[in-house]
């Protein structure tokens, strides 16, 4: 890895986004618009306060997964990946470059959704704000790194889009949002235990409750961060300099 190549890659991806106003608008505005929709659907401060953090965590995750898997697939099919693989660019330069660029986009996404929720929608968080922001941004990075990894298994855009429900929906169903994890059948709970999203959701719940953030919160944060790194390293392993 070479920091100047990593940064140049992140800058290049952000420049690509800058030329694509519609994608930037969709990425930054949609979570906020969905938050507003949620507020009026719930029509009750307490339910909104319960669901808003969930949305704040799940949305960056979904969006970043989709955007990243399509972006890397495009890199493969356009021949630019082969060109880069013949150049002195480390595999992690590319992956971390994507992580940085989309992580930054996720910060903008979360910042806007939170600002609107806390002001206009009157969301009241009992604790401080930063743990929730930390979880949301980490979730976006998790989406990005899983998207990078999964795009290796998709040959076409159709396949890449289909991977989203395959990877995401089970994680959300088993993550303890709809049914507490402890109430699941043993087998499902075991599966839930190995899915990174379960830890992200636990951390989000702690952050939203505003209780004293103890060792469990930090353990969950570390697990999610570890999964981000693991997915990046596995993603690097799936990138091949030589192809058949």
């Amino acid at each position: 890895m070479n920091p100047s190549i990593t940064l140049a890659t992140a800058r290049r991806i952000l420049t690509q986004l800058r030329h694509d106003h519609r994608t930037v608008a969709l990425m930054t505005l949609v979570p906020t618009l969905v938050m507003i929709l949620l507020y009026y659907v719930m029509d009750d401060e307490r339910s909104f306060a319960q669901w808003a953090p969930v949305l704040l965590c799940v949305f960056p995750f979904l969006v970043m997964f989709l955007v990243t898997s399509i972006a890397t697939l495009r890199e493969r099919t356009s021949g630019t990946l082969e060109r880069l693989m013949a150049m002195p660019l480390g595999k992690l330069d590319l992956l971390v470059g994507y992580g940085l660029a989309f992580g930054l986009m996720a910060c903008a996404q979360v910042a806007l959704a939170l600002t609107v929720s806390l002001t206009w929608l009157g969301l009241d968080l009992p604790g401080s704000l930063w743990p929730l922001v930390l979880v949301a941004v980490l979730n976006a990075l998790l989406g990005t790194s899983l998207g990078l990894l999964c795009s290796a298994f998709a040959r076409t855009e159709f396949q890449a889009v289909q991977l989203m429900p395959v990877v995401m929906i089970p994680q959300i169903l088993l993550g303890g949002i709809l049914v507490p994890r402890a109430q699941m059948a043993a087998l499902l709970e075991w599966i839930s235990d190995v899915l990174p999203m379960s830890y992200a959701i636990e951390a989000m719940k702690d952050a939203a409750m505003g209780d004293d953030l103890g060792g469990e919160f930090w353990r969950d944060i570390l697990v999610v961060a570890g999964c981000v790194l693991l997915a990046l390293v596995l993603g690097a392993a799936t990138l091949r300099r030589r192809t058949p």
Binding site: S4, I5, A8, T9, R11, R12, T15, Q16, H19, D20, S78, G79, T80, E82, R83, L84, M85, A86, M87, P88, L89, R241, R242, T243, P244
Partner: protein
């Protein structure tokens, strides 16, 4: 690394299979330094596979490929080879200059290198245009420009002049020979025989095997014709008769 007596590329008994079918059947040849070598042959004869093997991005089944004294694909070679694929590999959602600046920074080339290569391929007036809005010929040149960034010792171009008008082709061939005069080695593939005459040396490939390896003059002499297209057809007759 710059040793002029040694060939730029040396290939021994190279075999490559794609999709379970052997497409290169034990090629052996050398590419001399400081010259423009043309890689010619009909489409589907294995030119791109051979080029990819030399660049080091192709999985090979057997044989040895050595480039500038190193095994093909060595990390040290990644700064020394300029490579342009057949379909233009540039970002369609970046301007031409942004594309070049990015690739220049990956190569560790100076920032103003982008403007130099834009000038060389005659794309300076389109520098601010997005890749996706370029014409086919402009896109080809943008992709070619990337291969010229930095200080490559070996430039490998897969069909760089497809879809270009005669004036532009003439200019690019002048550029290629100018680079060769400075000691750069060029390997340029083409499926049109009229480009063969512009090369210092020819490597003719057919159905994954080498049909001819020599200068255009020696090829004409061998086949007893002045026209290279005719020479190519006679070579095929010769091999099928044998």
């Amino acid at each position: 690394m710059m040793n002029l007596s040694e060939p730029a590329v040396s290939v021994r008994d190279l075999r490559v299979s794609r999709g379970g079918v052997e497409v290169l059947h034990g090629l052996t040849f050398e590419v001399p330094r400081g010259q423009v070598t043309g890689l010619l042959g009909p489409s589907g004869c294995g030119k791109t596979t051979l080029i990819r093997s030399i660049v080091g991005v192709q999985v090979v089944a057997g044989g040895e490929v050595s480039v500038l004294g190193e095994p093909a694909g060595s990390p040290a070679l990644r700064r020394l080879i300029g490579y342009s694929t057949q379909s233009p590999a540039v970002y369609r959602d970046l301007s031409v200059r942004e594309n070049l600046r990015y690739f220049a920074s990956v190569l560790g080339a100076p920032r103003d290198d982008a403007d130099r290569v834009l000038e060389e391929v005659g794309l300076a007036e389109a520098a601010g245009q997005l890749g996706g809005t370029l014409s086919g010929g402009q896109l080809t040149r943008a992709s070619l420009a990337v291969a010229l960034l930095g200080r490559p010792e070996l430039i490998i171009l897969d069909e760089p002049t497809v879809g270009l008008d005669p004036v532009l082709r003439q200019e690019l061939w002048l550029l290629f020979h100018g680079l060769a005069a400075r000691g750069v080695t060029l390997l340029v593939s083409s499926h049109v025989m009229d480009e063969a005459a512009r090369c210092d040396r020819l490597l003719v490939l057919r159905q994954g095997a080498i049909l001819a390896d020599g200068t255009p003059a020696s090829l004409r002499e061998h086949t007893g014709t002045t026209d290279l297209e005719e020479a190519f057809l006679r070579l095929i007759e010769e091999t099928t008769a044998a």
